[in-house]
């Protein structure tokens, strides 16, 4: 039986480069970027795609520290587990 897609959204204290390298290692490809404004802040939103699985990574723009990108995943349970595992390993 095919697995159903699940949702997961987390804010992680992991540099954006580590997040992106985990996504690329899992076969996700950058499809689009946009500038988004939300919560009175500006964000760079990147959309990564692998088949019909989608992950968006939003990082706040400007001189802020620490950076805590928001990773929102609409994907298979295995994918969510793998990405969260990679991010946990960094922490």
């Amino acid at each position: 039986m095919l697995s159903e897609k699940k949702l997961k959204s987390i804010s992680v204290f992991v540099p954006e480069e580590i997040v992106l390298s985990s996504l690329e290692k899992s076969g996700f490809v950058l499809q689009e970027t946009a500038t988004v404004s939300s919560d009175g802040k500006f964000w760079k939103k990147e959309l990564y795609v692998k088949g019909d699985e989608l992950i968006s990574v939003s990082e706040e723009l400007g001189d802020y520290w620490p950076k805590d990108p928001i990773v929102s995943i609409c994907g298979l349970p295995n994918t969510i587990q793998k990405i969260l595992g990679d991010l946990d390993a960094f922490l």
């Binding site: 959204s9 987390i10 689009e32 946009a34 500038t35 760079k44 959309l47 989608l54 929102s72």
Partner: protein, 185 residues
């Protein structure tokens, strides 16, 4: 009816929990273009301002922005000349040149409470040099219509996939234009 404002993580996690608990609900979505002077070049962070740096100049974030060269704002059909003020640091809420955006609003209702998440996606600037017909109505300083090579600022709408929250297919999303609540009148 209590109404709660969420950020992206909270909103998606709330939907995820409702799916896990097999509750039935509908997600409402409104996407509208706004060009209401909400975003001007002085309020942009440096990373975004650099996209305009071939035709705009400023000393730093929240400083006044001036035209670096003559250019045509193709979206608003206005011409600006070298050193024209585009956004004054003393009038941050009233930029003379403004950036259009899509306002995206998501909400769902459950057990008498409503949960909201909204964000704006800015149009992307694209700058080129083109032969354009410049008309008197584009700037009061123009004395007569003419055709010339000029920098052109285009604002390109972001693709639809950047305007939506990615949700599993079993989540029913309904689009709407205007919310009417007769009880509020």
């Amino acid at each position: 009816m209590p109404s709660f404002e969420c950020n992206e993580t909270q909103f998606i996690e709330n939907i995820s929990r409702l799916l896990e608990s097999e509750n039935r609900f509908v997600v409402n979505r409104r996407i509208q273009v706004y060009d209401d002077r909400r975003y001007g070049p002085a309020s942009l962070p440096d990373d975004v301002f650099t996209q305009f740096s071939s035709i705009f100049v400023r000393k730093g974030p929240r400083s006044s922005v001036y035209a670096k060269t003559h250019f045509l704002d193709d979206y608003h059909q206005k011409v600006y000349f070298l050193q024209d003020l585009l956004h004054s640091s003393s009038k941050m809420k009233y930029p003379l040149l403004h950036i259009p955006c899509y306002k995206v609003e998501y909400s769902f209702r459950i057990w008498g409470n409503s949960y909201h998440f909204s964000f704006d996606v800015l149009f992307k600037p694209k700058i080129s040099i083109e032969q354009k017909k410049i008309m008197k109505k584009m700037n009061p300083k123009i004395e007569e219509d003419s055709t010339m090579l000029i920098h052109v600022l285009h604002f390109e709408p972001p693709p639809e996939r950047m305007l939506v929250i990615n949700l599993p297919k079993k989540v029913l999303v309904l689009d709407f234009r205007k919310a009417n609540n007769p009880l509020e009148n």
